[in-house]
Amino acid sequence: MIHAIGWCDMERWGCVGANWASRHGTTPDLSASAEAEMLIGQPVEYYQRMPIQTRVSLIAMSQALQASRWREMEMGEIGVACAGYEGCEDANLRYFQDYVQAGRFIGLGNLFIYTLATSAAGEAAIALGLNGPTLYAQSHYAPVSALIEQSRQMAVEGEAQGLLALWSDARAAVCFAVGAEAGDGVEEVVEGHWELSPGILVRHLTAKVQEEP
């Protein structure tokens, strides 16, 4: 079911995948597009206007995508399902604080466009050319497990051939490449720590990969 995992926060990034040598490293200066684009593996239009949540999400998604090898397999439609306790709260605050500080006269469109729960995943999907469904699906209980199961079911239904299940907050993101078929044990690296916050899960995953010989 889980074919690969990618992650990124302000300090570390990494990925694991079936038949793929795991990688990890120190997160480059996220304000510098050239360094981020090296990690993402392609130029990214509008990178400079993206909030941090979008940047870490984009890097985590690109890592999961690379480690899944879905591109090499010429997989068809790939979708994105995302969740996170904070949703887009950080972006909402930035937009509304700016609007209030400007005298409640005009809202800044470039900030408003990030005030949807799907904004970070959606813009990352655009950058990566993913044209399957994009949705935010935050379950009441066990949200990460529910997100992954929801993604698997969408793949089983044929809504997309694979889905990137993105668990993120304003500073960290973990992305699971989920397909309809059984995985190859990639999920073992999570070791039952499914419901950790994105930042703590990033640290756990990095530590697990560093343990590898």
């Binding site: 509008y46 439609e77 979708g79 994105v80 306790y85 904070e86 949703g87 709260e89 909402n92 605050l93 937009y95 509304f96 604080q97 609007y99 209030v100 409640r104 006269f105 005009i106 809202g107 800044l108 469109g109 408003f112 466009i113 005030t115 949807l116 729960a117 799907t118 904004s119 959606g122 813009e123 999907a125 655009i126 990566l128 050319g129 993913l130 044209n131 399957g132 469904p133 994009t134 949705l135 935010y136 699906a137 935050q138 379950s139 009441h140 209980y141 529910a146 929801q150 079911q153 969408m154 089983v156 239904e157 044929g158 809504e159």
Partner: protein, 376 residues
């Protein structure tokens, strides 16, 4: 397995229930009015479709005030383990507004959609699975699709879908900043359209296996759906319309129906220049020959996360009655839409097949195919 929308209800600026919405649309009357809510702001419009008799003072937020009244007849009716999907774009955003304006950061957590879901579950006495579904203006149809998928895979016998979004300064200022608002009531597919009007609505639908719904009186069958992303631009629609075209084709393929079998189209029709043009291109590319096509947003305004389900329920009523509403606000059709849209209602065979489409920020698109049944 047949999956149906067995029961539903709605509140829009037309009033409480389907009856005022349906009669307003058929009469070509808009519920969009000038509002003084934002009179001291510098917005490009003062138009909005606001629910007039809504007292949010005791409920804390307009969406919760809508939902308490709309959902009251459902309290205690369902098995407590019935799954619920809540579709919204901003939920109780008033709490975030208050947090910023009053410097009360403790209110921030109250603005999270998960909290709204929790409140709705408590109100309805539900203790089963719950999920917030958000996908811009396609949120509620995406939720109906998830519900149908859960039933098809026997995860549940029935799923309650609730959708809501309210007018707020947060959203109004944002759309004003994007110059997306019309200074007059929206005119979808009109040659002189110049933007959307915001509206507010709440709605619910009980999605069930038809076998379970027979006792309750069956209505529209969900035949299939398609969800796609343009992967082109965060706000602008893809001029090639490939994303929406794919969504329609996927819906038809899942339903095992040809595009030719679709008798009418309930379109997203926001009345923004590019979005309406993109939709018409998709319809022409997929369907070829014109068929009755309408948008409800000239009447209800754009109700964001609730828009898709409100539109779906109107399509359901059109299937049941054989009357396809005209497009409120339409005076002179855009040449692109000529022969497809009309300000007047059209007749269609009852028990036929219709499609409802929505698109939103992030380039998301949904299409859902419905087969009509008269309500027993």
């Amino acid at each position: 397995m047949k999956i149906v929308i067995a029961e539903s209800d709605v509140v829009t600026a037309y009033g409480w229930g389907m009856a005022p919405l349906w009669s307003g649309l058929l009469a070509g009357r808009t519920a969009i009015r000038p509002t003084k809510w934002f009179a001291r702001r510098g917005f490009v419009s003062d138009q909005a479709a606001i629910i007039a008799d809504l007292d949010a003072s005791s409920d804390g937020s307009r969406v919760m005030a809508m939902l308490r009244r709309l959902l009251a007849p459902l309290v205690g009716r369902f098995d407590p383990l019935t799954p619920i999907l809540l579709a919204t774009t901003v939920g109780e955003i008033e709490y975030l507004q208050r947090a910023v304006l009053g410097n009360e950061t403790q209110l921030l957590a109250a603005a999270r959609p998960e909290r709204l879901l929790e409140q709705v579950k408590i109100f309805l006495g539900l203790r089963g699975p719950g999920m917030v579904v958000s996908s811009a203006c396609t949120s509620s149809v995406a939720a109906v699709a998830l519900a149908a998928s859960m039933i098809r895979r026997s995860q549940a016998e029935r799923v309650l879908v609730v959708a809501c979004d309210a007018i707020s300064e947060f959203v109004y200022s944002g759309f004003s900043g994007l110059l997306s608002l019309s200074a007059q009531p929206a005119r979808p597919f009109d040659v002189d359209r110049d933007g959307l009007s915001l509206g507010e609505a709440a709605t619910w639908a009980l999605v069930t296996d038809a076998r379970a719904s027979e006792a309750m009186g069956c209505s529209a069958e969900i035949l299939g759906w398609g969800n796609t992303t343009d992967a082109v631009h965060i706000t602008a629609p893809d001029c090639s319309a490939q994303g929406l075209s794919r969504a329609i084709e996927k819906a038809c393929a899942m339903a095992k129906r040809s595009a030719g079998e679709v008798v009418f189209i309930a379109a997203h029709g926001t009345a923004t220049s590019f979005s309406d043009a993109m939709e018409m291109k998709a319809f022409k590319d997929v369907f070829g020959r014109p068929r009755p096509t309408f948008s409800i947003k000239g009447g209800t305004g754009h109700t964001l996360g609730a828009a898709g389900l409100v539109q779906l329920l109107v399509a359901q009523r059109a299937l049941a009655t054989g009357i396809v509403p005209g497009t409120v606000g339409l005076t002179k059709p855009d040449p692109l839409a000529l022969g497809w849209v009309s300000s007047k209602p059209a007749m269609a065979a009852t028990n036929s097949v219709a499609i409802s489409t929505n698109s939103g920020f992030g380039g998301v698109n949904t299409a859902m195919l419905l087969a009509g049944g008269a309500r027993s």
